[in-house]
Structure formats: C-alpha cells, structure tokens
Amino acid sequence: MKLKQALLLVLLAFVPAIGQAIYFHDKVSWQTPVAASEMVTVTQARAWGDNATWIDARPDAEFAQDHVPGAILLNEDRWNELLPQFLVVWSPEKKIVVYCSTQGCNASREIAHRLRTEAQLQNVFVLEGGWEEWVKRRDEENAQ
C-alpha cells in the first residue's frame, strides 16, 4: 500500500515537471551558457599576470570611468570597430579574460563567445563576478 502511495506521489510530481518542460522548451535563457572550464575567478586571472589580456565588455562610458589597468575596451556596441583594434595587439600565447559589470551581466559571455567563434581565438575566459568582484577585491586589499 505504501509503495503504491509512493509511486502515485512520484507520478504526480512528474505532472508539473512535464508541464514546465513543455512550456519552457523554446524559452531562451537570459544568460549565454558558459562551461565551468571557461570561467575564471579574480584570483586565478590575476595569478596569470602578464600572460593574460583583459577585455572590458562594458559600455564605453563605464570603461571611461574606471577599468582594470591595461584592459582593452571591446563591447558589442562598437564590435566592428573595436575588434580589429584588439586583434592588432592580441598575442596567441596570452589568455584572454573578459569581464562585464556584475555576475548577472551577459556582455562578457557574448563577447567571449564571439571571440571564440568569429575570430576563432582560444583560451578565452569569462571573469566570475565581473568588474564588481574585481573592485571588491581591490578595496579589500587597499583596506588591509
């Protein structure tokens, strides 16, 4: 009897799950999926030192306000103009670290995706937490 009840509960749990799968099957995720291996933390990226090129995927105005020292501006607002400027200084030996404003922003994922597919670059990483996390780390260190 208990087994029957358990089975019934499992079957009932499938109903909303199937409904959700049908309803959301064509819904697009807000964030471009990024494999865990393509993400990098601030600590890891900073440890790469001069072997990393930092890409700022935020809008021009935010980059002008402040950015990671040495970072290169490359956003989708002016991709056609900025990509050739980046490719002139790009070095195949260096890893590329792309960041945008926060953990929730999608611009860094989009830029990383376009660098991999359109320019066919390798070793492109997205910074976890973005600029917000980088600033947090900087402030913590300055406070020490």
Partner: protein, 225 residues
C-alpha cells in the same frame, strides 16, 4: 464574535472590490530591425482594468544595452499606457532576447517580465575574422569564407585597402558565398593589416585582420588591482 466575523467579511469584500490590475496587450514582442538601424523600439501597452489605481514602482532592464521608460508612474482605473523599451543594436548580430521587469504596488501582480526579442540581420559574415602567421612560418595563403545573409543578394564583394604586406585574392564560390585568400609577403617581419569587406553596392563593411606575429616569450609578473 459576530462583529469580528462581519468586519473580516467586509474587509475581504472591500479588498476584492478595490482590485487593481494592469492588463498587458502583449508581454513578448519580436522586432525585425533593418540593416543599419541603430535601435529597435518595443511598445508594451497596458490598461488598468481594475477599480483601484496602480503605482508603477520601477522599470528596469536586463542589460545595459536596453533602456525602458514608463509613460506614467500612477495608472488610474480604466487608464491605458505603455512601457517603451529601446534596445541599442550597436554591432550585435543574430537573435537578441532582452527583458524588462516592471514592478507595481499591486501585490497580486507585483512584478511583470516583458520580453523583447530582436532578430538582427547580418549582411555579411566573415569566418574567421583573423588570420595570422607566426614568425618564420611558411608564408602560405590562408582562406577566409565570406557569406551573405539569406535576405541579401550580394553579387560581388570588394576588399580594401590594397596592402603591400599582404596579397588578397577574392573568388566567388557559390550564391552569396565568397572565398578570400590572404598571403603575407614574408613572415620574417611583424606585419599587420585590417581589411574592410563589403558588397559592391553597399557601404556596410565587416572587417578582417591579418598579422604576422613574432611573439615575445610570456612572462609571469602578477597584476595587482
């Protein structure tokens, strides 16, 4: 006890009668901007079909590339209005999906997500956007494919400017498909060139970079924020 029950019933009835609701014409919009359009604008129309006013507390978008504005902060019963979402296309391509969240003081409808989908046409696609040679590598030609978007009948393309460092040869390989072969003069020196590729009858260009790289060995100095 009777008074308490009556007061409770009355309060329920009052709450129900003072119902407020924003009824949206559409919460999802699909836009098809033309080539060269700078922005795509979506109008999300609503009407307050309830009997109490609705206060729009905030309107915010999922991305810095989209701005959203409300016509009014307070919507009276029976009144209509709209949220305007402006998506800055820039150099984005393909299908872009952005959301706008509208928050109101109506607890039954505290938050509504409006979805703006923009299908951005691409006249030419270049693959890859970069060809490069390492110093000392054989200076053989490398091939880049250029494909016209399905709605663009591109008969011929041109590649500019003429470079003394790189030789460029364009050939048509199919309907709207082209092959661009790039060859460096030599690979003994660092060289760089950026070529604009565009249809013969359009100023809209995509870019191709070519480089001969003599990379210095990587160093390991840590960057401090």
């Amino acid at each position: 006890m009777k008074t308490q029950v009556l007061a409770f019933t009355l309060s329920i009835l009052l709450c129900a009668s003072a119902r407020s609701e924003l009824k949206w014409e559409q919460t999802q919009l699909e836009l098809h901007p033309a080539v060269g359009d700078k922005v795509a604008v979506g109008h999300f129309k609503y009407k307050n079909t309830g009997t109490a006013p609705v206060k729009i507390k905030s309107v915010h978008s999922s991305c810095g590339c989209t701005t959203a504005q409300t016509q009014k902060d307070q919507v009276a019963p029976g009144e209509s209005g709209e949220i305007t979402a402006t998506f800055n296309i820039g150099d984005r391509t393909g299908t872009q999906v952005k959301s706008v969240t509208v928050e109101t003081d109506n607890p039954a409808q505290a938050s509504t997500v409006l979805v703006l989908k923009a299908v951005i046409p691409q006249m030419l696609e270049v693959q890859p956007a970069l060809v490069y040679w390492q110093g000392g590598e054989a200076p053989k030609s490398k091939t880049v494919s250029v494909t016209a978007g399905k709605d663009f009948p591109v008969k011929q393309i041109k590649v500019t400017p003429v470079s003394t460092d790189f030789q460029v040869k364009v050939s048509k390989v199919g309907d709207g498909e082209f092959k661009v072969e790039v060859q460096p003069r030599d690979t003994a020196h660092q060289m760089v060139a950026t070529f604009a590729i565009q249809p013969d009858d359009s100023p809209k260009a995509v870019y191709l970079s070519a480089r001969v790289i003599n990379s210095p060995p990587p160093t390991t100095t840590a960057v401090k924020p």
